[in-house]
């Protein structure tokens, strides 16, 4: 990535609360016009990082630049960013119009112009005619739109969103996801979005930074994160993953020869992993990339045999747990219910066989 890509540049940022390290040496670049998500479990430092961008927290060390400007000395009220708070922070003593126009005071616009801007943005967030409502007369979804409008009307360089969909019920959340994406495309503002919901992050983002324990584990596009996670932590956090312990036998021409539990020796592409001979590592495969057979499959493709431990019926899919001799953990297998007729018929304890395409299996970095 070249430096011109870095609209927001986060350089070796650390944050300590007393002796507790909330952010550990984080460096990353966020591009202009990007929908960028910070994803992680609660307490991973994602909100702290967002609040640093807003200026509510200062970094213990390191530097944050927005559009080339160092931010460490800039107070929140002078930063070119606006935020949508987790609880929306709608001012209870003002109506919707005054809430949205709150930040316009400093611009010293004529009253009619201000009014016009508010009406315009109310249209954009699909709340036309709501200007005179008070905050307590709005539903959760409407409050969220007001918070969005209030931030967007100032045309910030960056919009920060702190789990804005967390308080909404599932249906409304999905609807708002679509609208957020539409809004972001239409205004062309860089969005930095904090969430603990991996599905939400995958749906919305151009790129995602997966965080844990104050560190950034991986920054990548949603599909790369899902298909090619670089570590076990990332693989575990996004979706479900089967892991098999492995040892590197040799490395040559970008390929690794691995000794894998239950599978024996196999050649896999090394990818970007820094593994060398003798290292212990893991190979991984997603549950939906495994095919479950009731009978021994023909041909000479590698097939693992095991016993079916448990079946979970999930409507459009079924989930199977298969115990394979020589493996510590049971295999998780997911299948669309069009290929296997119903989950109920699968008696536990019966023998099954597992197959997959060669490229479904990949090697993770050092443990």
């Amino acid at each position: 990535m070249t430096s011109t890509d870095a609209f927001i540049a986060i350089r070796e940022v650390e944050k300590f609360y007393g002796s507790f390290q909330a952010i550990a040496n984080v460096s990353m670049d966020i591009r202009h016009g990007e929908f960028f998500s910070l994803l992680g479990a609660s307490g991973c430092g994602k909100t702290t990082l967002l609040r640093m961008l807003a200026g509510f927290e200062s970094a213990s060390s390191g530097e944050i630049c927005i559009d080339g400007q160092p931010m460490s000395e800039v107070p929140p009220y002078l930063r070119p960013v606006n935020m949508v708070f987790q609880n929306y922070a709608i001012f209870p003593h003002l109506n919707v119009r005054d809430n949205i126009a709150y930040g316009l005071r400093r611009l010293r616009l004529p009253r009619s112009k201000r009014h016009e801007m508010v009406e315009e943005i109310l249209d954009l967030v699909k709340l036309p005619g709501y200007g005179d409502r008070r905050a307590n007369e709005l539903s959760g979804g409407q409050r969220q739109r007001v918070a969005l409008a209030r931030a967007l009307i100032l045309r910030p360089k960056v919009l920060l969103l702190d789990e804005p969909l967390g308080a909404l019920d599932k249906q409304l959340r999905e609807q708002m996801q679509v609208e957020l994406r539409r809004l972001q495309r239409s205004v062309g503002i860089t969005f930095v979005f904090v969430t603990h919901d991996q599905e939400e992050a995958l749906t919305l983002s151009d790129r995602i930074a997966v965080m844990a324990g104050g560190r950034v584990l991986q920054v990548d596009t949603p599909s790369r994160l899902y298909e090619a996670p670089r570590s076990r932590e990332v693989a575990n956090f996004i979706g479900t993953m089967n892991f098999l312990g492995a040892r590197v036998v040799s490395r040559a021409n970008g390929h690794l020869r691995l000794d894998i539990e239950a599978l024996g020796q196999l050649d896999l592409p090394a990818g970007g992993t820094p593994l060398s001979e003798g290292d212990r590592t893991c190979v991984a495969i997603r549950p939906e990339k495994i095919t479950l057979h009731k009978d021994r499959p023909g041909g000479d493709a590698p097939a693992l045999s095991g016993t079916l431990e448990m079946t979970t019926y999930l409507g459009e899919r079924s989930h199977f747990h298969v115990r394979v001799p020589g493996c510590d953990n049971s295999f998780s297998v997911s299948a669309q219910n069009n290929t296997i007729q119903g989950g109920e018929g699968q008696a536990s304890g019966r023998p099954v066989w597992l197959t997959w395409r060669d490229d479904a299996l990949f090697v993770l970095g050092k443990d």
């Binding site: 107070p75 929140p76 009220y77 935020m83 001012f91 209870p92 709150y102 307590n136 959760g140 409407q142």
Partner: protein, 276 residues
């Protein structure tokens, strides 16, 4: 009966008790306005006839007006200062994690339970030791000690309910701390401030014990009333004056409670089952 829920079922015994309670509480007080319109200098039944002479008589008493002005001056200053200090205290208590916070709150509230006479004597001793002459200033100081706990007690719930992200949102939208205070913080806590102001004013205005110990020749209104009680002929006028004070005090406290409740009855959010 079955259409009334268990908790709302009327309880006859409780209603009678409530009535007796209110009667015992307020009937003695109601005698004061009653006799203030009685055409006799003796407070006794049967009533002699209706008159407003005692009220007219009040208008001609210059010392009374002087005392009233004194009380207003002390009351207003005490209300302003104790509410201001109360705002600072309530904000500090709710905003920062202070060491020994519970002890601090208890310490601020302590004057509520210490008898006024003890505080009065203590302050009197202190003032005379320090050579401070008694005046309306010393009265105000005494009242400040009495009023501060009330101010904090009124303001604390307001500030406790204050969501800090409101101020952050204001800063985020480009307002500096000064404007944030005036555009967000103050409007949200303002009902509590008004309630505290009215309450402390009323307390100071009616206060007797502190004024008794700490005032010199400038009497406050309660001091004036006390001085008039020695003359039986003045008693009906005192009743008339007391009636007026009662009325104004009631009005102020009612107003304070009413404003204090403003805003806090509003529900914080109307749920998220979207109407959109």
């Amino acid at each position: 009966m079955s259409d009334v829920s268990y908790i709302r079922r009327p309880n006859r015994l409780l209603q009678i008790y409530a009535c007796i309670f209110l009667i015992v509480l307020y009937v003695p007080v109601l005698f004061i306005p009653l006799f203030s319109f009685n055409d006799s200098i003796y407070v006794r039944f049967p009533l002699q006839g209706f008159t407003t002479n005692w009220y007219a008589d009040l208008m001609r008493r210059d010392p009374l007006w002087a005392a009233l002005m004194n009380s207003l001056r002390v009351g207003l200053s005490v209300a302003v200062i104790s509410t201001f200090l109360g705002v600072l205290a309530a904000r500090a208590i709710t905003r920062y994690r202070l060491a020994g916070q519970n002890a601090l709150v208890a310490f601020i509230m302590l004057p509520l339970v210490i008898p006024g006479i003890i505080f009065g004597v203590a302050l009197l001793v202190l003032m005379s030791r320090m050579g401070v002459p008694l005046s309306l200033y010393t009265v105000a100081l005494g009242h400040l000690i009495v009023c501060l706990p009330f101010a904090v007690a009124t303001l604390l719930p307001r500030f406790e309910g204050f969501d800090r992200s409101m101020e952050e949102a204001s800063a985020d939208l480009g307002e500096n701390p000064w404007w944030t205070f005036w555009r967000v913080t103050f409007p949200i806590v303002y009902p509590g401030v008004v309630a505290s102001f009215l309450l402390t004013f009323t307390i100071s205005f009616d206060e007797f014990i502190m004024a008794f110990f700490l005032s010199s020749t400038d009497a406050t209104l309660p001091m004036y009333i006390w001085s008039q009680l020695r003359f039986p002929r003045e008693f009906p006028s005192v009743l008339a004056l007391s009636s007026i004070i009662l009325l104004v005090s009631f009005a102020l406290v009612f107003l304070a409670l009413r404003i204090g409740r403003l805003g806090s009855v509003r529900k914080p959010g109307a749920g998220s089952n979207g109407a959109d």
